[in-house]
Symmetry: C2
Subunit: 320 residues, 2 copies
DNA sequence: CCGCGTGATGGGCAAATGCTCACTCAAAGC
DNA sequence: GCTTTGAGTGAGCATTTGCCCATCACGCGG
């Protein structure tokens, strides 16, 4: 009755995709029924649904506290005095770990953003956080503020690909304070310049006050993000390892006990170290390659929350 | 690698179903791959996934503000001064409307429960709210309290089938105050007895203070829930209609202007009317049969929030 | 101890889905 | 004004999924 709005014309690009996906997943129609409903061909319906999935419009969650994961969560909380621990069901390779963890981390972020008391949220960068954001629902949460812990310019001058704060801002509409300078200075002079820029000073001050901090973690093996993304050279990595490096949070490298290293690389990081005060630092990370780094961060009480996958959690608990 | 925890034995009943569903939907594996992974047959994997879906372990949401729905939301807010309005994409029959609305309503409930400041939440009953709850994620939210607006005993003495408060309590772990008396008294004496029961007095007082109230709405046509569920007779319904009845909220019947009727049926309802103070009353309802009732409730400003479907919203806006 | 019923299992097949390919149409470029 | 290019379309076909059925195992009553 009335409402003949989409006879095939009008209707913006993936508006229709969302509608098709909705009919498919929520409405339970078959693709040919959707085709009928929307007056399009079966193939087009199929393509629309596929597109909605590809663009991440379709979010699937499994609502079942798988017993083993719960036990691991409890174990992590007890052993390392964490305030938050979430363990996603098993994932084998590093790639899978990311996909496994992302929805859990996204749910945690949504929980933070759903609070009505305004929060100041500090954010790191990296592949893991990017994957997390892709899984987040858009949620209007203008009462909160977000600040970046770390610069957003790569050594070659490009914007860091794994910058996350802008993307979360898109989803939430929250005001945000990126740290618009390079991640690392190349020498002491540059470092002083960056550190004295007014917006850097204020962002750094803000970041230290964050009510909650969400970061990834970097490993120090040959696939270290700092190396892969071109922030440090292979020589510097070797030197860090010789100095006992076990991992890094926001570019700040620490040893196996979770103590920050006294090393040139650490000196020139423009961003702040994760706060070590009352407010929680939540780390989102998983995969065998990150286990050493996680153990160190947990041991040194650098983080108060961990969102990881089943295998990583089991490994951390079994041997440390 | 390692972690051979579920070689086919252990693993509780639908624990495995959740795991299979997880691998399927989140992990993106095919059913035969899942079968390999878990060491079971392809059919079993298929059955596990189907089971997880059937049991509602799998929650799918489409995250895309379909433009038309947004416009309808804005229209509803402006026209009726609502504080919340959500419109789910089109749904034709009444049955579909329920399926369409439920996920949206569930998201709204989750938003309420995700708040950290303790809330007192008053709840109605009905098919629509039941469908909503089935779509809610389990979420630990012990800080809130819930109270029922309405009795939970059907005229035949059985527990009302569409009771919702217990079920939300299961999902949230929040303390709850059901109103454990019949919905309606049969005469003035019974009425006085029920109303004076201590737990009814306190529940009623609590309900009136609720920070937020969530209810369905009942129509007055021949398929009126009050009639179908046996609370009133066909004669009473006819009499109500003769008196101008347009709909009911929690059993309290009002006319087309949203004014409560002065009628015997209204006199013997043990529960409370939805609060008319600062705090919002959110109505979850959709389908053509409910349009008249919704218009009346909106006109009388009985509700301050509406969660409905596209067709219902369009219809309400186009003619009232 | 044996037969019978109930419920889980895997094989096989039909339905549904997703992919590739050849084609069209329209906008940009020559 | 014609050609090129690329995105979108529908047909046909391979893959995947879901369903039905015969079979099997287990438990219970005779």
């Amino acid at each position: 009755m009335a409402l003949r709005t989409l006879d095939s014309d009008d209707a913006s690009p993936d508006d229709l995709a969302a509608r098709a996906a909705w009919l498919y997943y929520v409405g339970g129609l078959r693709q040919d029924q959707i085709a009928d409903e929307l007056g399009i061909s079966r193939q087009r319906a199929q393509r629309l649904v596929a597109r909605a999935v590809a663009e991440g419009l379709v979010k699937v969650r499994i609502d079942h506290p798988i017993a083993e994961c719960l036990e691991l969560e409890r174990g992590l909380r007890q052993r390392f005095g964490l305030v938050r621990a979430r363990v996603a069901p098993r994932a084998d390779s590093g790639q899978d770990a990311l996909r496994a963890i992302a929805p859990f981390a996204a749910a945690e972020m949504e929980r933070i953003f759903a609070q009505e008391t305004p929060q100041l949220i500090a954010l790191g960068t990296g592949r893991t956080l990017r994957a997390m954001i892709d899984q987040m629902q858009t949620i209007s949460a203008g009462q909160h503020r977000m600040v970046s812990l770390i610069g957003n310019v790569a050594p070659d001058g490009s914007a860091s690909f794994y910058e996350v704060i802008m993307r979360i801002a898109d989803k939430t509409g929250a005001p945000h304070y990126p740290m618009s300078v390079p991640v690392m200075a190349r020498d002491a002079e540059e470092f002083a310049t960056y550190r004295n820029l007014p917006h850097v000073v204020s962002s750094r001050a803000l970041a230290k006050e964050a009510d909650v901090t969400v970061v990834g973690i970097g490993q120090m093996a040959d696939d270290a993000p700092l190396l892969v993304d071109g922030f440090i050279t292979a020589e510097e990595l070797a030197s860090l390892r010789a100095a006992g490096a076990a991992g890094e949070l926001g570019g700040h490298v620490f040893d196996a006990e979770g103590r920050y290293l006294d090393h040139p690389v650490n000196e020139f990081m423009v961003g702040v170290r994760v706060p070590q005060n009352q407010n929680p630092v939540i780390c989102v990370a998983g995969g065998v390659s990150k286990i050493k780094a996680l153990r160190a961060a947990l041991k040194g009480r650098l983080i108060q929350g961990l969102i990881t996958d089943e295998l990583t959690a089991a490994e951390i608990l079994s041997t440390s």
